[in-house]
Every structure is written in C-alpha cells, then in structure tokens.
Amino acid sequence: MAAHRAEAAAPIDFSELGALDTAGAALLIRLIGVERLRELPPSAPGLTVERRALLLAVGEAMAAPEAPAAPAPHRLADVLAAVGALLTETWSNLLLLLNFMGLALATLFTVLPRPKRWRLTSLVTHIHQTGLDAVPIVSLLTFLVGAVVAFLGATVLAQFGATIYTVDLVAYSFLREFGVLLTAILLAGRTASAFTAQIGSMKVNEELDALRAQGLDPMEMLVLPRMLGLLITLPLLTFLAMLSGLVGGAVVSVVSLDISLLRFIDIAREIPLRHFLVGLSKAPFFAFLIALIGCLEGFKVEGSARSVGAHTTSSVVQSIFVVILLDAVAALFFMEVGW
C-alpha cells in the first residue's frame, strides 16, 4: 500500500506520447491503474485536455464492474442437463405442433361455411407458388429417379433372366412409394422453408402484431391459404411425379433393355388400381404436416434474422423427418392390411 502511494506520487510524463487511440489508452491504463489515473493532475506534463478526457473516459469504461463469471462447467452434469433440456424441448415442440394442428382445423371449420371469408386470391397465389412453380423440378427429379430404379432393376433382375420385371419394379415403387415420397420431400425442402421464411420475416417486422392489432387472425389470413394450397397441389404433383417416374423407367426400358413401349404399357396396365390409390392417399397427410410445420416454425421466430434462418432449417429437417416417418408407418400399415 505504501509502495503504491509512493508510486502514485511520482509524476508521469506524457510528452513523448506520439498518438493515442482507445486501444493504446487501455494499455496505458492497465499499466498505471485506474486509481492513479483518477488522481492524475490536469497539469501532467505533455497531457493535452483532449487526451486526458479520452484517458478518463476509457478508464471509467474499464472500471465498470465485470459481469459475474459464468459458473465453472461440470462436464457430466452439463451433458445430462443438455439431454434433459433436449427431451423436454422435443416434447413441448410436439405438443405445440398438435395444438397448432387443432387450431388450424378449428379455424378451417369456422371459415368453411362463410364463403365471404375465403381468401381465394391468396389461395391461388400459393397454389401457383407451391404447385405450378414446382412442376419442372418435381418432374425432372422423378424422371431421373425412375430411370435409376430401372437401371438398378435391370442389373439385379438380369441375373435371374427376369429383366421384364423391371417394369413392375418401376411401376410399383413409383405408384406406392416414390411418387408421393419424392414429391413430399421436395416440397418439404422447397415449400416448408418458404413458409417459415415468409411468416418468420413478417414476425420480425412486427407484421403479425399489426395484423392482430387490426383484429385480423393470422391463422385465417396466412396459415389457411398456405395449408389449403398445399393440400391441393401436393396430390396433383404426386400424380405428376408418378407419371414422370414411369416415363423415366420406360425410356430406360426402351433404350437399353429392349422392352418395347407397348410391352411396357401393357405390363403397367395390369397393375391393380389400389397401388395408385395407396400412394395418392398419403399425399394429403404429407401436405397437411409440411404446411403446418412450415407455418408453425415461422411463428416461432423471435426477433432477429438469425432466428429466421435457424427456424427455416428446423422446419425443413422436421418436415422431412415427419414425412419419412409417416411413410414408414403407412408402409407397415398397408402391408399388414394387405393393400
């Protein structure tokens, strides 16, 4: 203490100081200490008024009390806590989604009998954006996958001399599974993310609050048109995907497997209709889930653009997960039922 006092008494000469910025000031203050800085006389040699003010301002900022240090990490407990937090969060997310579905259906049933409240303009826009605009990508991708399945079938089946069954392979897989699954996954990536980003940025911009403050229901204005739009477009796109996959398979069959187009069509026509219906029946469920997950994630956005990004990712991941999970469950169900 006494040494400190004696030190403090010694004058500091600033005359050699060429230039001073805030970083330099901070270094200087760390060297001489805040206490001593405060005691610095205005007449210290070489210290201009401006520099003294700068030093004092930086000194005050440095003297501000430190935030309490984060508690020391406890590895095992932290991992357990993180797992627990993840579980409760997943559970509450699930409950939230179920709530949201109920709310969406309730809103739908209040709006349905009142044609005045149908939002046709909005509905048509969303059908355009989620349906028509997705036609090229859906048909191209399913065409390619159809061709790949045909090649795969040809490679494996040729060993048994059953190349002709390639047609059945392509047709069954696209009618029952691939048509609807590929479309749903594509739309989960393309549309769920778009819904989340649209609604999320509206939330960031307080547009949702503005709607509510005007007595308008975001559920009715934003969610219903998106949900109904997707409910209409996903089955249509699924049909397109099935056709496109079959065409892909047909092209490979004709070009490299020596199965004539007529033969291909003959075999495809023998497939019972129920396989097509099994595939198509899943489309509305997928559409419902994709649309609602996309919208719900949008509503969950808080505050910043970063949150929009995080929830967009989350909506794509969730909707693809749900689509595949539901498809697997449906496959089991249809197999047990014998359809």
Binding site: M202, A210, L211, Q214
Partner: protein
Amino acid sequence: MVTGHGAGAEVVISVRNLCNRFGGHAVHEGLDLDVYRGEILGVVGGSGTGKSVLLRSIVGLRRPSGGEIRVFGEERGVFPPQGGSQLERRCGVLFQNGALFSSLTVIENIALPLIEHTGLPRPEAEHLAGLKLALAGLPKKAGSLYPAELSGGMVKRAALARALALDPDILFLDEPTAGLDPIGAAAFDQLLVTLRNALGLTVFMVTHDLDTLYAACDRVAVLSRKKVLVADRLEVVAATDDPWVREYFHGPRGRAALQDAGS
C-alpha cells in the same frame, strides 16, 4: 391545447395495478394509468422501463401477468377477440418500424382493414385508402409502391395512414418520430395535433422526442421504477423532484427543446 382534466373528463383507457413479468424480471409492478378522451398523452421513460410493453398490453398483443386494463370500459382481452369485440376497430396502432405488410403495396396495406372490417368493395376501399394517404401527407404515386421502396419517413406516414384507416377513436403510436429528420418530425407533430383537433382522436404516444412532447402532448406520463411515476401536464411533470425526470427535462436537450417551444 387541451390542458387540465377535471373529474368530468371521460376516461377511455384505464390501467389498474398492471404487472408484467418476463421470467423473474418484473417490468411493471402495480402500474396505474388513465388516458382521457381527446388528449395526446406522451409516455416517456428510460430504455427498458417497459413503454412498448405497456402499449402492447393495452393494445391486446400481450397478456399482462396481472392487473386490469379497460378500454372504453371494456375489459381488454388478448387476441383473438372473444364474442365479437369491436375494440380492434376502435384502436389504430402505428408500430415502431411501421410494420407495413411487405407483400402488399401501400394502398393495399391501407385498404386491407377497410376491406376486412367493413366489407367495402375493393375499388371503394382503395379510393378511401388514397384519401388517408393524402391525409398522412404522402403523394398519390407512393400508393403503388411496396414498403421496401419507401424511405423511413414515408414508411411512418404510410403506417399512420393505415392506423387511421378505420377512423379509430384511439391512436397508439410507438416512437412515431424516431428516425425522422427534425423537419419531418415537426411536420409529423403538426399533423398529429391537426388530426386530433379535427377528428377528436385520443392519442397514446410512446416517444423519446422532447420536441414532440412540447409541441404535441397535452399530458406526459413518466415510467420509472416499474410504475407511472407521474402523469400530468408537462410543466408539472418537469417540476417533479426525481433524478431521472430532472436529468431528462433539464439536461441540455431538454432545455433546448423548451427554448424552441417557448420561442
């Protein structure tokens, strides 16, 4: 200026014992406030004193943790309105950043509440919207622009036009002059007073702008220490013995605004 509200003035917004908590952190604790018909009330307070939270609670965007809010004597529910409440139609809100619907043009933004609430056909609603737009001081050609194409000041005016769309009885403004240049801000204050005088609006305005307080507000409510510290005419508020109030009104900016208002 309308000053001094006796016992006769009608209370349009009455807040009693309002509590708002975020987690363990209380923003309001036992807050009381009355807003009288036809006045312009300025709400001031330091950052984080819950001015916007108060506004959101009164408008019905936030469910208070406790207490009671009555607007026109009707208990303020939280959205969605139950039992066909018409409160939303009687309140216009201007949000801090405008909150115009980015997918609609300015005219469509203003026409939306008209179409939704009154069932006016679109051409008539847009005609009326054009009128509101002109009233808020925007040129006709701004109507066909999208919000992203507007300047900050134009966004505020467009948002004001939208808030006025349904001819509300109460106008809520969240920092209407923040981010405007001084000329634009002064014009905004003037517009506000004109509209209030002509339409008999009641205005609840959250603001930081001392010039606006002097130029437009009849009463000022100071939020501090989780309550309304004082709500009265500006002279009375400025004379209140409180460190924050003294700093606010008698700091360099406060004095400059006072001189401007006096000259």
